[in-house]
Point group: D2
Chain length 344, copies 4
């Protein structure tokens, strides 16, 4: 009954097998390993982008910060949702990596709307040299509240960015979960709508710790490499990053794992709905934000369930409705979900 | 016949087993995993430092840059050897992480001497507010040229630093190789001589990619944690870093691997000496800098040997003596060494 | 009829005389000039703070950014109004000088309320190492919309900051205008309410370009000096900054100039009120935000008046009410004001 | 008898008159003043560069740091003399402004030689992504030791830079003194030899505190403007910078002042030579590095002379030869020089 996060579960056995397989003999260091060639080819294939620049790093924050630093200048501001990971959960890493760029928050909600994005961008850079200049737009897909932008929604946001000549970054820490929810291709969820750079997450979906950064315009490649090295994110024994990502892409493991995770969340949501739970957002991928009485949370915690409360603490009126976040990865079993539902 | 680097070899099987072992069920993310408790306890034990602050990162550059940033201020300068990894091989990562501190190079050699260090430190901060202020001293042990500072040499450098009230950082990417060479304890090679912070390497000695950063004064702990997160070096699935380091420390794997590596280098050096090779530096740990005729290098490369030339290229006079760097890790076999020697 | 800004007017004649007076013979460079001694003594006297550290810089942005950098760490966030100069008008200078700290905006208004400040601070640093840590509170007095915090309001904001153990910075680009409006002392407007550091403006009130930075705790002095030098804000011919500030403080020029500026604004506001203008904020110091029909603005511009429109452009419906900002410095004459009022 | 520095003397009366003249009525802020138009036109004329981008800042460190930041990237290294102001006297400002670029020192002397520059540049960027990348070359003219590069020497250095495709920055804190010494034009000392950007000093040659930054390729203009603002170096009352620079350029004041300074230094050098003083470098512009017995220094200081000792302190053997630096600006009189010489 562990729904705390999709970074709490185990590494997928196929990935572990890939690591063991890669652990033979000697390999060129720093990304010149043969497996990285396989990864590059596979990602270009998946994204239908034969020229894309592809890099691996080990954390999502590194992927986001390095991608945004490459797309921006220190006197600019980056546009994102107020609940974006880059704003709330990276301890100023984007500010650090960009050399002091600002983040401008687009309205109050989870998902940015094209209208709010347009108004926010239009409101910046109205003071000549005095205010920050307009910089990249960063979209989180799946959002931090579990929502998934539809393809038309993505296109509309990208169109706004393009109308101001701004690049678009997609924080895809849960890229596969979104793709599975949308039943679309990787190309459709990215460059076909106007996305320029992607943080292509693997860690939350079965890897030990690997994310790819993809630029559809390879002109960014060399600068990114230098920024990655300068940020201390270039691995000497790089083959172990490559091996994870290669295993992830072989036999569609990434999609199988995401389908399992989303299906688990759907089963959980259905059960909760049947029990009368309120949802803060309609679950779409592998995250559920639901509310039940505080007494129920207490009971569940006592019985060993693990997850995060949302917007309140365990202390207080037992009858008050209190929200929580429940996240499923591929490893959760139907039994665990049913056991949890039985307790509610 | 792969002597290119100690980051080219495989992960030690005991480490891989540790990873597989750790890959069960759910674990708290971001360093709150139970294995990290084991790691902390083991490192404190090894270093006889019950209060030490202990952190894991995945690259040596991250360990060095974050440690130095924590020990310095942006208006200071860091004292190091001109061949230090932090100066030559980190693409300005220390400058980036410190917010723009300078590196001041101590004389021309590989090993810093106390006299040169003292003169260099004394020469800085003589211009009041105009020049950079004196900052940490960083010592590389094993040096980048394969030398090992003796304990009295370490003490003399630390004494110079202390006489100026400056903290000392030890870049121990090959910490275990040095300890084995010196036949001393971890405490003797660090705080007993005056070292304040250590980059305790694992990657070059059998791990996939983990280094520990150790501060003997735990007052630095919280700042380091924030800098690590802001630098995007805090792993969500941290248990896989812990698992590697735990396996490394269990049953003295780290010392066994280093002993094997050093013994391999000794066997190789002995063989080379017998063949009449010149040594640029007397080999002490697991690196050898030796010179033989260019024609010999050509021959070896053709026959499949892999290593780096040093200070010259493969093109040129076949009779000219040309140096190379040969590095052994634990995984090199006696057969491989003998095969290589036979070819010379 | 020049109401565009209080940085558009001339330097006060007494300041120019002070510069000429200072322009004799040789002076120690870089702040060691004798006039700086006078300035230090005068400011300590004015602020009833005999131990205060006092420094001069030439721009308000330098004063703010250097003060905030000294009071904060790069992994923190600074709390300020969404219309603060440090947020809107410094092109990411605070982010640059702090090494990448964030700015967190307190609610939507011009003046921060203690309740909004408390809620905002409480909302940060709730995610452990993941989000930015709480940093300084920066208060703008006079605000960018012409309002003046009362002493109890300042105290309430400082009390909130202190309850979280956070330092308080006062951006006093229009410090004298606020003091004159409040009829209080410099000590009452700063450390007596809990302010730790002040940007004490001079440029908008008759100087060519000098602001003082004052820390009531002199422990910050040396770090500030280094940051000022590193930021390229230490003047070699520093005596010309000192001379301006000395002239400003002699014979209460700073208060005389501010009284004149505020009186000019009051005369203008009174006249506008009589003409039926709407005020966006009740004028308190030397700035007026008032609305009249667009046709009237057109007419005034044609007749040579200079000021900034606010929230709209000169193109559009002639009858629509359109706001503007009118700023008076000490140099505006009653005639100019009356001439302007006559045109309305 | 004040030979401490050319930043210790008074502002030239014509500059003060220019400031008084500029101090009338209202002027657009932030560089939009009419005088800046005059300055831009005059500088373009002087440099025979009708498209040059021209900006004013108030300190030499700001000019250098902002120019170098505009010409470089944070993962690069800047090539300069080990005694360059940017290395020794700016408290890491270049590292700060560039976002953490490194400075690589070219050999040991004062003046860089083309051979040493070439060898140094060739030695960098030999490690792919691991070391810093090659960045701008910065040349100081007059050097910090009072030497002047001849035009062929400048050309040879620029040619080396160009052969690596690197931009060239000229730190011309004493630009006019060098031009007068070389009897050449501004164009000949800059772009005609291959210089891309110039810090065109005024402060050491009669201004209160103004330096121009000139880019011969105007493509850098907007980035520089943003960097200047972000660095807090954009003055609101910019007309007072413009007024100084305009006065400097009118009627060749800059050349008259430099001629006077150089002539003063020549008179002083001649007198010293007659007295048997040793010169560390042959004086060429307005700085003299000479040695006489320590007892003589003691005597001179007692009698009121002011200058800096070089490489030693006043304590010690009275007969030992001890070097000093003597600097003349335009304001030194023949009487002062003769009085000083009489004392020796």
């Amino acid at each position: 009954m562990f729904f705390a996060s999709d970074n709490s579960g185990p590494t997928h056995p196929e990935v572990l097998a890939g690591l063991a397989e890669a652990n033979k003999g000697y390999a060129m260091a720093y990304g010149a390993d043969a497996l990285m060639e396989e990864v590059r080819t596979r990602i270009r294939g998946v994204f239908e982008a034969p020229d894309a620049a592809v890099f691996l790093v080990a954390t999502g924050t590194a992927a986001n910060s390095l991608a945004l630093a490459t797309l921006s200048r220190p006197f600019q501001t980056i546009f994102c949702s107020p609940v974006a990971h880059i704003h709330e959960d990276e301890c100023n890493a984007p500010e650090f990596y960009t050399g002091g760029a600002k983040l401008t928050l687009v309205a109050d909600g989870d998902k940015m709307t094209p209208a709010a994005l347009e108004a926010t961008i239009a409101g910046e850079q109205t003071r000549g040299v005095h205010g920050p200049q307009r910089g990249p737009v960063s979209i989180t897909q799946v959002t931090e509240r579990g929502s998934v932008y539809s393809l038309p929604e993505l296109k509309a946001l990208c169109d706004v960015a393009k109308s101001f000549d701004l690049p678009v970054h997609l924080d895809g820490a849960r890229f596969a979960n979104a793709m599975v929810a949308l039943e679309c291709t990787a190309a459709e969820m990215t460059w076909k709508q106007g996305v320029d750079a992607v943080s292509f997450g693997g860690t939350k979906n079965g890897l030990m710790g690997v994310e790819a950064v993809i630029f559809f315009d390879p002109a960014h490649a060399w600068e990114f490499e230098l920024r990655r090295k300068r940020g201390a994110h270039l691995f000497s024994k790089h083959r172990y990053l490559s091996a994870q990502m290669a295993a992830y892409l072989r036999d569609d493991l990434w999609l199988r794992a995401a389908r399992a995770a989303n299906a688990n969340a759907a089963r959980l949501a259905e059960g909760l709905r049947a029990k009368g739970a309120d949802f803060l957002h309609e679950p779409q991928a592998n995250m559920i934000f639901a509310a039940f009485p505080r007494a129920k949370h207490r009971d569940l915690f006592e019985k060993g369930a693990a997850y995060h409360l949302w917007g309140g603490t365990i202390e207080g009126d037992p009858d008050e409705m209190l929200a929580c976040r429940l996240v499923c990865d591929w490893s959760i079993t139907a039994d665990q979900i049913d056991q949890f539902l039985d307790l509610i």
